[in-house]
């Protein structure tokens, strides 16, 4: 298990090798990237196996009193800042922390990254920067894997920023397009705003605890060494970072724009890396959130709910296929946050994985469609199941899974979330969550039916099924989206369901609230049927509804004017303030503080240079008078 550090190292090593040697290798070095992440996926199974065989006596392992899970921590000293052991010195470590949360994330990230990279072989074929694409892909996966393995906040922060820069590079991959450049900048800057909170939170914890180690921080919270106020503030600051990365309101604006990157990148960002980092961070530092009265969790729950609901309504009216999926991701990230905020630790991670597989599948499917038709607008598509049957089937599986149709992965995880919200939060939350679930089913149905059902348009008659390199990853992901939910049960044998694997506090076997389950099934099935009636059969038209609610519709279609508000804020507040600062800099700092002394020195110099006459007798006279003066002075002193 201590060899788990190899998982990110493979990919870290692959990235520079592709850049340097890629041109000499087959496929411009893409093979290296795939081998590296494939190796990581193989090591993941060894780690899982050895974790299942481990117990509290295994070297480095113990049952954490903070999370209740068997946790293994391996660390090496890196360096000491200051004298070792002295007051104020900081000793920094490399370390990996392995608990079920890490293992689940390792599996998700390596598998989805592997699938996406195989898919990219075909999708990115012929791109002039093919090798560079795979190099950044490798680095991206490596950074995310480091993030989930990190056992201290400093490593986590470094990996966190690496993830950010890689997303910047990949979103702006086609940087010849101005929109891609803008989107990349937006993604980087918006997440940076949250990152500031994260950094301050980490430093606050360090100030209180004295180390960057997460386990020490959790211990300090449990023993009360970290007071309630500090813990709450630190948790909120960490959550700020998580909001930026996980695209929670009001930091969600970057994610829809991130669609400017290549579609497989979107699949990776939405499913395995980047956006789930925020959810992971909250889950990883859950002891901080849950400590004392769990006040920060209320914030998490509210932000999650608002995000889930707001994004779901936008997804309902978006027309660009990738944007529908992007808002759906935001909505589901909101659900995960809401679940964490409702103490649904297991449900959140379970949904994270189920959503990860389904959403990777959906994006790869969307990529397949775009690859074949060159369109992004759902209005330009329709009837594609006739020409691309495999894509249609796997996309539908993903859509049904996220929509919450039973036995597909998304149903079970969403149900777990509903149970958690119902148990721990008040009635407003559960009603709005159910409504979000309903919207989720409707927009998923809408996307699916608009793209693959109905009559085939002439412009798409040349469309064809994608090559096997693209369909195979989709099929594998489709199998997971279909069957992954089954791990939630306590099957006969030693496996007691996901609730006994990933949990917080104590393990729980699967449980099912009958009325909630029934309600969510009825809503999901009803929503899909309604979507079918509206978008395929045209049984009834939405024009009346649109006309009656045109005001509200306009607000939603403009994404609640978030972008406009930000633009206004930047133009009218930030830039005005910046201009004032710039004026202050020029007038006060430059003209007075810097140029002032320089001016005074120059003027004084002009004044005193007058004594340099260039005449020898002036100097001699001065010297003589000086000598006499000095002599007189000494003489007077002596006498």
């Amino acid at each position: 298990m201590e060899w788990a550090w190899l998982i990110p190292v493979f990919s870290f090593a692959a990235a520079p090798m592709i850049v340097i040697f890629g041109r000499f290798l087959p496929g411009k070095g893409a093979i290296l990237s795939i081998l590296a992440i494939g190796g990581g996926f193989a090591v993941f199974w060894f780690v899982l196996d050895s974790w299942l065989g481990a117990n509290a006596g295994t070297s480095g392992c113990f049952t954490s009193e903070n999370t209740g899970m068997l946790t293994c921590d391996y660390e090496r000293s890196w360096f000491n800042a200051g004298v070792a052991g002295a007051v104020g010195s900081v000793s920094l470590h490399w370390g990996i922390l392995i608990d079920p949360l890490t293992i689940a994330m390792l599996g998700l990230v390596t598998f989805v990254a592997l699938m996406v990279q195989v898919y990219s072989l075909a999708y990115m074929k012929g791109d002039p920067r093919f090798g560079w694409y795979f190099a950044v892909h490798s680095l991206f996966a490596a950074a995310m894997l480091t993030l989930v393995l990190a056992d201290n906040f400093l490593m986590l922060y470094v990996a966190w920023e690496l993830v950010g820069i890689c997303s910047y590079l990949l979103i702006g991959f086609w940087h010849e397009r101005p929109a891609a450049r803008e989107a990349a900048k937006k993604a980087f800057i918006v997440t940076r705003i949250g990152d500031v909170g994260l950094l301050i939170g980490i430093l606050l914890i360090w100030r209180e605890v004295g180390t960057f180690s997460m386990l020490d921080a959790f211990e300090a919270v449990r023993t009360g060494a970290m007071s309630q106020g500090v813990t709450t503030v630190a948790a909120i600051l960490l959550f700020l970072g998580a909001m930026g990365k996980s695209a929670q309101v009001p930091f969600h604006v970057w994610l829809p724009d991130a669609m400017e990157g290549p579609t497989p990148v979107s699949a990776l960002i939405h499913a395995a890396t980047m956006v789930i980092a925020g959810v992971f961070l909250v889950a990883r530092t859950f002891p901080l959130f849950e400590a004392y009265d769990a006040d920060p969790l209320i914030v998490v729950a509210i932000v999650g709910l608002v995000t889930a609901l707001g994004a779901a309504t936008i997804a309902l009216v978006a027309t660009d296929l990738k944007r529908i999926l992007a808002y759906s991701t935001i909505s589901h990230l909101g659900l995960m946050m809401l679940s964490l905020g409702a103490f649904g630790y297991t449900a959140a991670i379970f949904h994270l994985m189920a959503h990860g597989f389904s959403k990777a599948l959906l994006f790869l499917g969307a990529g397949s469609v775009l690859h074949s038709t060159e369109f992004q607008e759902t209005g330009e598509m329709g009837g594609l199941r006739k020409v691309m049957p495999v894509t249609a089937i796997v996309f539908s599986i993903g859509a049904l899974s996220l929509g919450g149709i039973p036995i597909l992965a998304g149903f079970w995880s969403k149900d777990e979330i509903l149970v958690a919200v119902n148990d721990n939060r008040n009635v407003t939350f559960i009603v709005l969550t159910l409504f979000t679930a309903l919207l989720s089913a409707i927009y998923m149905g809408r996307a699916m039916f608009l793209v693959f059902f109905g009559p085939l348009k002439d412009q798409n008659s040349h469309a064809h099924e994608s090559p096997i390199l693209m369909t195979l990853p989709m099929i594998l992901l489709g199998v997971l989206a279909l069957g992954f939910g089954l791990i939630s049960f306590n099957w006969p044998g030693s496996f007691g369901g996901i609730g006994t694997f990933i949990f917080f506090g104590h393990g729980e076997s699967f449980h099912f609230e009958v009325w909630l389950g029934a309600l969510s099934i009825i809503m999901a099935v009803g929503a899909f049927i309604a979507a079918y009636m509206i978008y395929v059969r045209n049984s009834f038209s939405l024009e009346g509804v649109r006309a009656r609610n045109s005001g509200f519709l306009k607000i939603v279609e403009n994404k609640y004017y978030f972008d406009e508000v930000y633009q206004w804020t930047i133009d009218r507040v930030v830039l005005v303030f910046s201009r004032f600062i710039a004026y202050f800099d020029r007038a006060i700092v430059n003209d007075i503080i810097v140029n002032g002394p320089a001016d005074a020195t120059r003027k004084f110099g002009i004044l005193i240079r007058l004594h340099v006459t260039g005449h020898v007798y002036t100097y001699t006279l001065a010297m003589a008078i000086g000598s006499v003066g000095l002599g007189l002075f000494v003489w007077l002193r002596v006498v």
């Binding site: 007058l610 340099v612 020898v616």
Partner: protein
């Protein structure tokens, strides 16, 4: 033995003449000569004082003579250097008038 004060008067007179020469002359060579005059005024002062000083024990005090010889040595070197500089200046500017050698001023 002549009284010490006469030597000191002579020394002071020579020194003042030298000082006047440095201040009033325009020719660099004459200024150097005036400086030599001042140095020798100091030498006279030193040697006179040394020879009028009571020796300690059986040995006279040689401090004055010592410093005087030192000054003569330094003066010799100084004259060599000064004349060399003056020579260079003359080569460059065809004059040794210090009023015209005034580049290093504002």
């Amino acid at each position: 033995m002549v009284d010490l004060v006469y030597f000191q008067l002579l020394s002071a007179a020579l020194f003042i003449i030298g000082l006047y020469g440095v201040m009033a002359r325009r020719s660099a060579v004459l200024i150097v000569m005036s400086i030599e005059l001042m140095l020798n005024a100091v030498n006279i002062n030193l040697i006179a004082a040394a020879s009028h000083m009571e020796g300690t024990g059986n040995f006279a005090n040689f401090d004055g003579q010592l410093i005087a010889i030192f000054i003569i040595t330094v003066a010799a070197a100084e004259v060599g250097l000064a004349l060399a500089i003056i020579l260079r200046i003359y080569r460059n500017r065809s004059t040794v008038n210090v009023d015209e050698i005034n580049l290093m001023k504002w």
